[in-house]
Amino acid sequence: MKVTLWGTRGSIASPGPDTLRYGGNTTCVSVQGSDGTLLVLDAGTGIRNLSQTLSPVLQRVHILLTHLHMDHIEGLPFFSPLNNPGVSVTIFGPASTTLSLKARLMRYLSPPLFPVSVRELLSDLRFYELPSVTIEIGEFSVTSQLVMHYNPTLGYRIQGPNATLTFLPDHNPALGVESFPTSKDWTSGYDLAEGADLLIHDAQYTDEEYQARIGFGHSSMSNAFRFAELAGVKQFVPFHHDPTHSDDMLDRTFEDVCEVMAPQFDVTPAKERMIFEL
């Protein structure tokens, strides 16, 4: 599988001279299978750049939303296949007890928040709500599970023919835990991440910032490293960078955290347009 990072930033897009290397677009990752299967993980502002690289003869795409916070859906109406009558688009996302996934997305994709409504889109558009299940999409086996974040949020484990990717962009498994990590069976997201070849995981805050943001649903960098270690992953990609963190600051911070944590796995902080071949 080919994994491409189109948006690595959390909370709000933060373009500018200070974020050129890590990127300013919000969460979006594409996963391309050798059989042509295309998965898009979240639809932050990064999805617009992905659109521009897609083949004009694309027929089918699957968008897997972890949750519906704006930084994960705000690029959706700018994803050009949605307005192409020749394309079948399936949007997966967390279930709700009150409103369908389509109805919840329509709150954003309708006037006055956006000029075009869902029913005006020209693609063959379908919505599919995911609880904790495994589904087959092309060559991929995709497992979803609810994880610890603010509002119901899914994490994904994508098993390809040769490797496993785990995507937990917004996740705080340490919430409510006195000393993290605790046992594996009581750790949010563990089953999704266990032994993954590549873990893309929330590492939004420095340890100092985290103390003032407990309950915001995001991980400190150190706790993200601890989670990766607990899960026994092979490569860890710190992700969902805070919009206030500049490139230079992220360079320094990840260097410091790696020195302190001494991880036994590869660490590759997420940068926009970074590609992983698994």
């Binding site: 967390p94 279930a95 709700s96 007890t97 709500e129 995911l130 609880p131 904790s132 599970q145 609810l146 994880v147 610890m148 119901p152 919430l175 409510g176 835990v177 594996k184 069976d185 009581w186 750790t187 949010s188 997201g189 563990y190 089953d191 266990e194």
Partner: protein, 130 residues
């Protein structure tokens, strides 16, 4: 190793921060967690026992109803919440490990997760002052 569902993990976090005894059982009725105040009722520490089968925890404190008749495990509010998947409430006596009889009120609620997933039940215990 099967990780607990997030709703169960969150229920445990809530229980850890509350001062009343709380039990959490899985869909089979097996006790997967009890908090520190519940350790006093049960007479065991969670760190020592870990999870416990339904047959063990439901009889360990010799519950009897208000008429003094021994309660069957299926009469326990937690087991009703599991088997019938609706809330249950009961007042009954237990014999603590210290040998003292205690009258308890127990309210059990099934845990229904997102997408109607049945995840077990949670019970709140309340000691009735005499």
């Amino acid at each position: 190793m099967s990780q607990k569902e997030i709703e169960v993990i969150l229920s445990r976090h809530l229980a850890e921060y509350l001062a009343m005894p709380i039990f959490i059982v899985d869909p089979n009725g097996d006790l997967v967690y009890y908090n520190e105040p519940a350790e006093i009722v049960l007479g065991h520490r969670y760190v020592d026992t870990g999870s416990m089968p339904a047959s063990e925890w439901s009889t360990i404190f010799h519950p009897v109803d208000l008429d003094g008749k021994p309660m069957q495990s299926e009469e326990h509010p937690l087991m009703i919440a599991i088997s019938e998947q609706h809330p249950a409430h009961k007042r009954f006596w237990i014999k603590g490990l210290d040998g003292n009889q205690r009258q308890l009120e127990v309210t059990a609620i099934p845990l229904i997760g997102q997408a109607e997933r049945f995840l077990g039940a949670i019970a709140f215990f309340w000691e009735v002052a005499e």
